[in-house]
């Protein structure tokens, strides 16, 4: 079982058809894992081998982070000072001193727009590039007809066109979160495979601030431990029980998860990736001992191991003034207190550590980092001294993987309410990510995704 995967990737120029088939046959459920077509192997290397999408769920305030407006009226400006960065023309707020000193490694887009002001809708649009008018949520689509996440698209493409560096042990799309990505109402419909089915969903892992990693969905069967999961007969018996008592959709979902989990635990190399104790303490410290920080570190390890798409989600653990909700950056109340105490500094620490770590390991050149939320927050301070949802203008941060660093793309108007230059749509975000990772317009046309309305963001690559 150890004669495939990263062992092959280290010692061979590529994975031969024979060895790949051998590896596939060794995996009990490999055929159903990622739709791998063994007839198609390595393709020409794209600029970005992997993507890390750092998703700031809830909608971070652009005025309080990457688009300060020190000359805006009192009701807009906010209390945080604007500071210079290494990038001419780029100021950020005083909450981001580390990133200010690292701005030569990344570029900032200041004119992102979305088409909806709700978390689930905007999140779905933001992660798929499809708006309601494309037949998605609210437009007659919705689950299961929603379009696939950028990560699902890339994973499917790479399953058919593997790069030498791509892992055969690990899923092509991994999302790191404590639970489903959404809001208090429910998950975003665009979190995964959508119309392509659950087989194209991200494999979800939860990473705690201690570095402990778990698979939340496997909790569907009580008492299932890692050792018992490895015992196929035991699991089949459990599945039989579950089949009788669960509805079919739950069972199918779990069955798909189980198949992939079985693959993972069968691989010692894959297991090692999830063990953060292999990292130097100083490295773990640099990311910060929050769920978000350690998840970002785990994401780097996954990229290093050859996972094409990793989504690192802002943890619930730093915004829990309102309990039992997945609000993240949804700072309707006490925006400025939360931003000063936690959100701003923790993002500054973790994102700067991630970019520096990737750079020092020589991974930044081939890893595309994109950090953004589903929208920004109202430039005008609301009637309780905070900020609400604002999809009309917000920011994204881009680094590595073919991105030209040290640039500011786009300009918002005087108060940060609307783009003063060409807006950047979710379809353009997706097109840029996929183009840089080798899912070209031809590939997208074959997969019937992001065919219309999107192009690579001008000036970013």
């Amino acid at each position: 079982m150890l004669s495939f995967g990263s062992y092959q990737a280290r010692d061979c120029q590529g994975v031969s058809r024979r060895s790949f088939l051998k590896a596939s046959a060794a995996l009990p459920f490999a055929a159903g894992l990622a739709g791998i077509d063994p007839r198609v192997l390595a393709a020409e290397a794209p600029k970005a081998k992997s993507v890390m999408l750092v998703w700031l769920i809830g909608g971070p305030s652009h005025l309080d982070l990457f688009d300060p407006k020190p000359r805006a009226p009192d009701l807009y400006r906010g209390p945080f000072a604007a500071i210079d960065t290494r990038t001419p023309g780029l100021q950020v707020t005083e909450l981001l001193p580390r990133l200010a000193n690292l701005s030569n490694k990344f570029s900032v887009v200041r004119t992102n727009i979305n088409y909806n002001g709700g978390h689930r809708e905007a999140g779905s649009i933001g992660m798929t590039g499809y708006s309601a008018t494309d037949g998605g949520e609210g437009g007659g689509g919705g689950p299961p007809g929603y379009q696939p996440h950028f990560g699902s698209v890339l994973a499917r493409h790479r399953a058919r066109n593997r790069l030498e560096a791509d892992s055969v042990d690990l899923p092509g799309f991994i999302s790191l979160a404590r639970g489903p990505i959404g809001d208090g109402v429910g998950p975003n419909f665009g979190y995964g495979g959508g119309a392509w089915g659950k087989g194209h969903d991200p494999f979800m892992f939860s990473c705690e601030e201690t570095g402990k990693v778990s698979i939340p969905e496997l909790k569907l069967i009580e008492g299932l431990t890692k050792s018992r999961l490895a015992n196929r007969r035991d699991v089949l018996a459990k599945l039989d029980v579950l089949r009788r008592r669960a509805d079919q959709s739950d069972f199918e979902k779990w069955n798909a998860v189980y198949k992939r989990a079985y693959n993972l635990i069968s691989s010692i190399d894959a297991n090692r990736v999830f063990d953060l104790s292999h990292e130097k303490p100083a490295t773990r410290d640099a990311y910060g001992h929050t769920s978000f920080g350690q998840s970002a570190l785990l994401g780097r390890r996954l990229v290093e191991a050859g996972v094409p798409f990793v989504q690192v989600n802002w943890s619930q653990f730093v915004e829990v003034l309102f309990p039992n909700r997945d609000y993240g950056w949804d700072t309707h109340s006490d925006n400025f207190g939360l931003m000063a105490d936690w959100h701003g500094p923790l993002l500054d620490r973790t994102l700067s550590a991630l970019i520096e770590d990737l750079d020092q390991r020589g991974l930044l050149e081939t890893t595309l980092v994109c950090c953004m939320g589903e929208f920004g927050r109202t430039p005008r301070i609301n009637n309780i001294g905070s900020r609400d949802h604002w999809p009309h203008c917000y920011f994204s941060v881009w680094a590595g993987g073919g991105i030209e660093p040290g640039r500011v793309i786009g300009e918002s108007d005087r108060n940060g309410e609307h783009p003063a230059t060409d807006p950047v749509t979710p379809a353009m975000v997706g097109t840029t990510i996929l183009e840089l990772t080798g899912a070209t317009s031809q590939v997208r046309a074959e997969l019937k995704v992001l065919e219309d309305g999107g192009h690579v963001i001008d000036g970013l690559v």
Binding site: P79, T290, Q316, R325, D334, I381, I384
Partner: protein
């Protein structure tokens, strides 16, 4: 109940790494905890023998933790409920406690708890669907509470009585007004305000009169805390580019820097002995309490 027990067990276990308190003899701080959790709003009670603070000790909730500094034992101050509780304050006679509570998804309320009668008074700011209540403090005579509350276009500092009535707005400026602390004699309130752009420290009389600037910088100055003798004010500032803790005399003079570390230091409060300062300092990406001897050598003048 099982959940409560397991949480208590976890809290107690996390205290195993706690260091026994030793006298501070140098400018180097004394580390008080080692759990590393995100924590905030500490308060000394029992003459400095106990520390009560708010902590993100569970994935989806904030709780108020009580730490016995002699034994290192940590317990939940209130039983676990369905809400988050934080920013606790105590009256001098210890008959009253108040804290902020998140009752709804976007609503912060003030709870005034009378330990003698066992009754709670809950104050919800107007515009109840979304509201902000932070940093409550009892006046020294225990008759009123001063705190930060939401207001159109910003946040203001208000005072109210123990029945949650007679709300008086003490600030009425533009911008954010917050983090109030009342002088030991009850006559003066120090707070932070962004009325001139950046968050600066201000003083005002207890009734809101004579609002005047205390210290200014181009970066944020927040979390001011009066010393027990009322002569000094500790606060958090990013004026040197990183978040550190400073002390200034009540007349705005003699500004000096207490902490000096590339990571963050903040949330300062004074030990009742008036000599030591407690901070929550980020070290190696973890957040713990540290005690600093403010009389030791090693402090440096701060920049204005």
């Amino acid at each position: 109940m099982t959940s409560c027990r397991s949480i208590r067990t976890a809290v107690l276990l996390s205290a195993l790494g706690l260091l026994a308190l030793q006298p501070v003899r140098a400018a180097e701080p004394q580390r008080v905890t080692r759990d590393g959790q995100l924590k905030f709003a500490p308060v000394f009670i029992d003459g400095g023998k106990t520390l009560v603070y708010s902590a993100h000790n569970q994935p989806k909730r904030v709780s108020i933790i009580r730490l016995d500094l002699a034994t290192g034992k940590q317990t939940l101050h209130y039983p676990i409920g369905s809400d988050s509780q934080f920013d606790i304050a105590f009256s001098r006679d210890r008959k009253l406690e108040c804290f902020a509570r998140s009752g709804g998804p976007r609503q912060l309320s003030l709870v005034i708890r009378n330990l003698v009668t066992g009754k709670d008074v809950v104050f919800d700011p107007p515009g109840a669907q979304r509201s902000t209540v932070r940093s409550p403090r009892f006046t020294p005579n225990g008759q009123r509470i001063v705190m930060t509350m939401n207001a159109p276009g910003g946040q203001q500092i208000v005072s109210l009585n123990l029945q949650g009535k007679d709300v008086r707005r003490l600030t009425a400026s533009n911008g954010i007004n917050g983090w109030p602390d009342i002088s030991p004699d009850g006559k003066t309130i120090v707070f932070s305000s962004s009325r001139n752009g950046a968050l600066d420290l201000w003083l005002m009389d207890a009734n809101g009169d004579r609002q005047r600037s205390l210290v200014r910088s181009s970066r944020r100055d927040i979390y001011p805390a009066w010393s027990p003798d009322g002569q000094r004010i500790a606060f958090t500032s990013a004026r040197d580019g990183n978040q550190e803790v400073y002390i200034v005399d009540r007349d705005g003079g003699n500004l000096r820097r207490v902490t000096r570390h590339p990571e963050r230091d903040g949330f300062p409060i004074w030990h009742p002995d008036g000599r030591r300062l407690l901070t929550i300092s980020e070290r190696g990406g973890r957040f713990d309490f540290y005690l600093w001897d403010t009389t030791a050598r090693g402090q440096t003048p701060g920049t204005g």
